[in-house]
Amino acid sequence: MHIELKDIHKHYGPVRANNGVNLKVEAGTIFGILGENGAGKSTLMKILAGYIRKTSGQILLDGHVVDYTSPAIAARLGIGMLYQDPLDFPALSVLENFIIGQRRGLTQSNQSFCQKLQSLADELHFALRPDQVIRSLTIGERQQLEIIRLLALGINILVLDEPTTGISSLQKEVLFKALRQLATAGKIVILVSHKLEDVEQLCDNVTVLRRGKVTGNMQAPFDAQKLLKMMFGQIPSTPQCGRITPGKTALVMQGVSASGGRAGLEKCSIQFHQREVIGLAGLEGSGQGVFMRVAAGLKQPVQGKIHMYERDVTDQDYHVFKDYGGMYVPASRMEEGLIPSLTIAEHFALQVSGEFWVNWSKAMQKAEDSIVQFSIKGQKQTLVASLSGGNQQRLLLSFLPSNPKLLLLENPTRGLDVESGHWVWRHLQKYCRTDACIVFSSSELDEIMMVADRVLVFYNGRIIKDVPTCETSVEELGRAIAGKI
């Protein structure tokens, strides 16, 4: 079995998301697709999965041209995809999510689906409970379910779009093991990523995309420097980490407890200073999210005291937090930070307009400046929904005020490629120099070690570790995240 893409084009008006892409993948291999944000990786894979239609080009399965118009038909040909933003049903149970879309015999009971789910999960060492509601699962568990579901459909070609974004290192290990197992069993695995280390760990071959075109191919073992050059045109520079002496206390919490998330927040006491960068580590939903929402005044604590720059802000709301120079950037950029059906310019119009009328000329000017300054790949009139994930993140960051005092950032570089990630940090460090305190959460320990001065590890709603980054290591933090101090 092998699959070949020939001269694939996908045009959105003037945008060439894919511009003549060719690739070929053999059975039993894990194939990597690398590329910076907006390179066209997702577009290409959605075409392969039948989710969107190509403008032109051919797909050949075992040498025969196949043409399909929906993911369901693609699935019948054995092609299945795990999408970048999970396409599942948060309100339904694991079992229901598993069943939807499976063909069923007239007499087939839910029980038999349940058994199938269990046996596939066991095979790949995934722990899933059929009666759990999807909403209460981590991203990693949702992925596992989706993989199992695709396998139950009889998939031979499995495409995964950025599967390592937002999952814990433990889940990543489980995932990679499962993917190797599938490749050994003769399936084709295609892994889309912008992280070199994923590809280095897992892939046999890799193709690099840039601006909708293939810029190179490579076989394992990989030369990281060469790959970076193919991805970005040049090797991106890393952010400088000059350690600065901390200033006044910016945020103090004393015995703060709050509900929400999977674990809530329990008896949390911290003290953050000006010019400090603090990384929050922990499995998704271990309390970091609630911590930030409480600090930002979006959620009221059940008990405890909160001070911000020596003023009591306990039980105050987000407006007070903002008035005192605070800024909160949530992880779910589409749900809380951006409005998908508005254009870039309209977002700026919301920011700059007064009480009564829209100041379009100012909004347009600001949009134009920000597109250049933040190198957003899009135009003023581009709908935010059609920006690539990385560019949405840049847009969100461009809304930050020019001199914030306290920044709370949830996964600020989630989904960003190395260059964009470094770019974001270089940008954020400017705030630090102007006396801000930056608190951010991240699932990447490497990122925390690189940019943070201090790290807090959350486990089940508690802070179980609070150390300067220079006195700890990735291994030690990894153990703490799993609850072993």
């Binding site: 989710y51 993911p71 369901a72 049903f89 948060p90 309100a91 229901e96 939807i100 879309g101 509900s259």
Partner: protein, 326 residues
Amino acid sequence: MTELNLTILLASVVAGAAPIIFATIGETITEKAGLINLSLDGTIMLSAMVAFVTAYSTDSIVLGFAAAAGVGALLAATVAVFSIYLNQNQVAVGFVLTLMARDLAYFLGNPYSRLAGPQAAPLPVPLLSKLPIVGPILFNHYWPVYLSLILIIVAWWYIYGTPEGLKLRSVGENPQAAFARGIDPRKMQLFSALLGGLFVGLAGATFALAIKPGWGRPQGAEGTGWIALALVIFGGWNPIKAAMGAYLFAFLQVIGIYLQGWFPSVPAQVFQVAPFPLMIFTLMIMFFAQRETAQIWAQNTPWKQSLLKLLAGNAPACLGKPYRPE
């Protein structure tokens, strides 16, 4: 002074709720797939008129019901086609349609106003109707009332117990994901609109041929559609809970009639209108039950938690958001 006879009171609640149940469950089915059919109130009026006129001209109750169901499905199909395939705003289309259908019903039905027409005969269930208490409450009614009781169970089973129902819910939760799994969200929404509309039509026929027999202006069914829309929310998009809401509303209406007899000095309109604000009040309680403060209030107290669970109910995640294929 009117005697309060509990058996009779409950029996009239069961009968009076029948059309509301048809409408509420019809709308629940439609909304489960993510589509809001706002034309309910007008649809009930038009289908009531058509049911009466058909039954009057053909002397067949069954034909009257069938014609009403057809009208219901047709109006629902209009909302569905305009919003799903022609990209029109479903709220606007539904709203305009509800006004149009009501006026059309008054206009076309005018010649048949206040005529004595056929109506469904009471149909006691043999044996069961002889049971003490339960017999008169549940088993001594017109046949549409039995149908409404059966519909509650069947609708619940369809939505939560069958593969088709699962598909329906999946479209209401996330049409993009449903599409990725081989379901055509637009077809599914059209189908759910047709099915729901059919029951809304039956609601109209039940009014005109059984509960408030005859046609006229006013007919007596006015406003039911809006209440049904609220009851869908009240029921948290669950047909059984929605039906309970319908019974609650019918109870308020029936008790109003009794109260009118007991307090003749109070204007009759007060008792006729009272159920509506009371319904809004209950909706508010349900809304507050979902607030976080309510969760904290219920912490560690099992009965409070089960109460909140009963009151809780989430709208389909993509309700009212039109699905556009990529």
